[in-house]
């Protein structure tokens, strides 16, 4: 049987579950822990009932002690295990910073390669339906800043499964960013196990007029913006970097050199952020590229829908900015695009 044909239509959350299930079968040192991972919801189904399959010590609930439990994972990794620490909201990673930055990122260096820390920190970013100031933050740039930590933020179900498998098998600490608004997205995913490599991005849509680079959920909105741009004759090339540290600069540089225009759509505040880094690299390494960026407004995320909508970039605002960069009509007002994952999302959590 040809394995490449062995694909199923599953969603992003199911793809993450498959990655966990298969890696736990593949390596008895892999274990999952985090608040509620073994509860009836199993972190949106991604770890549901894995303790029934693999035993309680391999999928277990924890006290609310993010600082210590990060250290516990690091210590277990030092002893040869491969922990996966799951956080329902990325905002809680601020309680883990000492362990991640001072220890996980440093132990290999300060032991001259004697020890490594193969831990995966899974962090979900929330959005919409009033997640507000402390349930919506996206800290990819905090971790991209630190040598010794890898960061990956897959967008498609296919890449989610492969990237999680790569993260588990990697010998470095990995911050794995999963966006809540992507969990229900469906796609064809191989049933077998496979890896998505670090440092390799993907062109999701080819075009010659402008390069748009998104990150995590803004890749989706960038693709929608590209659809809008087509109606005014602009062919946008949309890049999903997937891996944020290391990042596939070659891919971005070569696309930007082709289109001569680069728009980075950040999934976070722009100051000292993902977009700053991409644009800096292109400014240094490529000639004559017009650069722009769009991202979260420079405020905390508000709760009420009308302000929340104003806080985030959306397909229209991305398309308008791209069209201006391409010399299009400054007064162009594209039609509203349904962001079904945002509209359909209801709480309470």
């Amino acid at each position: 049987m040809n394995n490449t044909l062995d694909k199923k239509l599953i969603n992003y959350g199911e793809a993450l579950y498959e990655a966990c299930f298969q890696e736990m079968a593949n390596d008895e040192n892999v274990f999952i822990y985090g608040l509620g991972v073994d509860d009836p919801k199993g972190h949106y189904g991604t770890s549901k009932d894995l303790h029934k399959e693999y035993g309680n010590k391999r999928n277990f609930d924890i006290p609310l002690s993010e600082d210590a439990l990060t250290g516990v994972g690091i210590g277990a990794a030092l002893a040869g295990l491969r922990p996966i620490y799951v956080h329902q909201r990325m905002d809680f990673l601020l309680l883990c910073m000492n362990q991640l930055v001072n220890m996980a990122a440093k132990i290999r260096y300060i032991s001259s390669g004697e020890h490594s820390v193969p831990i995966v920190i899974r962090a979900a970013i929330g959005r919409s339906w009033g997640q507000g100031a402390q349930h919506s933050q996206s800290f990819q740039s905090y971790f991209m800043h630190v040598p010794g930590i890898k960061v990956i933020a897959p967008t498609t179900p296919h890449d989610a499964k492969g990237a999680l498998i790569s993260s588990i098998r990697d010998n470095n600490p990995v911050v794995f960013i999963e966006h809540r608004m992507l969990y229900k997205n469906a796609g064809y995913v191989p049933s077998t196990s496979y890896e998505i490599p670090f440092g390799k991005g993907r062109i999701l849509r080819e075009g010659n007029d402008i390069t748009i680079v998104g990150v995590s959920h803004t890749v989706e909105d960038s693709l929608r913006a590209a659809d809008l741009l087509k109606s005014v004759g602009v062919n946008a090339e949309v890049i999903d970097p997937i891996s944020l540290s290391p990042i596939d600069y070659d891919l971005i540089r070569s696309s930007a050199s082709k289109t001569k225009k680069l728009l980075v759509v950040d999934n976070g505040w722009m100051t000292c952020g993902f977009s700053s880094e991409i644009i800096t690299d292109v400014a240094i390494n490529c000639e004559g590229i017009r650069c722009q960026r769009i991202g979260f407004e420079d405020t905390p995320c508000p709760t009420t829908p009308i302000l929340e909508k104003a806080f985030y970039p959306n397909p229209q605002s991305i398309a308008i900015m791209a069209n201006k960069m391409c010399g299009g009509n400054k007064k162009w007002s594209p039609p509203a695009v349904e962001q079904h994952e945002i509209l359909s999302f209801k709480g309470p959590f």
Binding site: A68, G71, I74, A79, G80, Q99, R108, S112
Partner: protein, 315 residues
């Protein structure tokens, strides 16, 4: 299964530790050791007692005041000196220094300069021992300052919840830099609070090497019967400055008399008195030679190549 306390061995480990640090003091003004050192002088009895009680199976998590833990474990002295000198034959090829010693051959894990930070890792290692059904107990050294940190209590809670084989060795020298414990916590807090978390915690009455040895043996015996976290609080006095090679009496932040008294009651002298003079002299010669060789090893080692800067950021 109590092994008899071996005075000769204790004296040797104690002297090796003391003399190594005295050599650091002697050489510090040459500026060949270009990094902070946090000396253990005055606190060595704990490390010596603990190391004599434990076996090769035990895994050590220490801290930035870790020379005594490292030397009394008989970890590689040559490599430690080369590391202090920033040389390529050091424990981290010069990239770690005094605050990040490590020797995997002796299961001595990389230490941290951030107070309390390695403590949950020690607990995680103990979780892994239990997970893999492996022999061994984790030894986790920390100071009284570490018990001010929330992560310490979070770690005790998890260790207790999972009945982990770990001994927390609390070296209580009463000071976090120059701030006395009385200014930092109410009611002599450590043992009582640890017990509330379900940890088998004991405040050791004496402060001799043998006292700490016996306490560690008791913990190991208990854990052999039933896996459970233990804590022993060991009183000690730091004769030197918090960091660097200065005298604890220099800045008038503490009572000089208590320092004088601790120096008079030095357990190294008590151990020495219990041994025949010929044994003492032979050990002194051996220790001097070991330390001189280690310093020579450091002097003779090369600095790392500049192109090593990027090595081991990622694996």
């Amino acid at each position: 299964m109590k092994k008899k306390f071996n005075v000769e061995k204790a004296y040797y480990l104690f002297l090796l530790t003391r003399k190594s640090e005295e050599k650091i003091i002697e050489l510090y003004n040459t500026d060949k050791i270009k990094s902070p050192v946090h000396l253990s002088i005055g606190q060595e009895a704990i490390a010596v007692g603990v190391n004599m009680a434990i076996s090769e199976d035990e895994v050590i998590f220490s801290n930035y005041r870790g020379h005594a833990h490292y030397i009394a474990r008989e970890a590689n002295l040559d490599k430690m000196w080369a590391e202090l000198y920033g040389k390529s034959r050091g424990t981290a090829r010069g990239k770690g220094g005094s605050m990040h010693l490590n020797d995997w051959g002796k299961k001595f894990m990389p230490t941290s300069a951030i107070v309390s930070t390695a403590i949950p890792q020690a607990v995680g290692y103990a979780y892994a021992l239990k997970y893999k059904n492996q022999k061994g107990v984790v030894i986790c050294y920390h100071g009284d300052g570490a018990t001010d940190e929330g992560v310490f209590w979070e770690s005790l809670n998890f260790a207790s919840l999972h009945s982990l084989p770990i001994i927390f060795i609390c070296e209580n020298n009463k000071y976090a830099i120059y701030t006395h414990q009385d200014k930092r916590a109410m009611n002599d807090p450590i043992v009582e609070r640890a017990r509330a978390f379900g940890v088998n915690a004991t405040k050791i009455k004496g402060s001799s090497t043998e006292d700490f040895y016996n306490a560690t043996i008791d913990c190991l015996n208990n854990i052999e019967k039933e896996s459970k976290p233990h804590l022993i609080e060991c009183n000690c006095l730091r004769w030197r400055d918090h960091v660097g090679v200065g005298d604890a009496r220099d800045l008038n932040y503490r009572n000089e008399k208590e320092v004088d008294e601790a120096i008079t009651n030095d357990d190294l002298l008590s151990l020495e008195k219990k041994l025949p003079i010929s044994t003492v002299n032979a050990i002194k010669l051996k220790v001097d030679s070991q330390i001189n060789n280690a310093v020579r090893f450091a002097e003779d080692s090369k600095f790392p190549e500049v192109n090593e800067l990027y090595d081991n950021v990622y694996g």
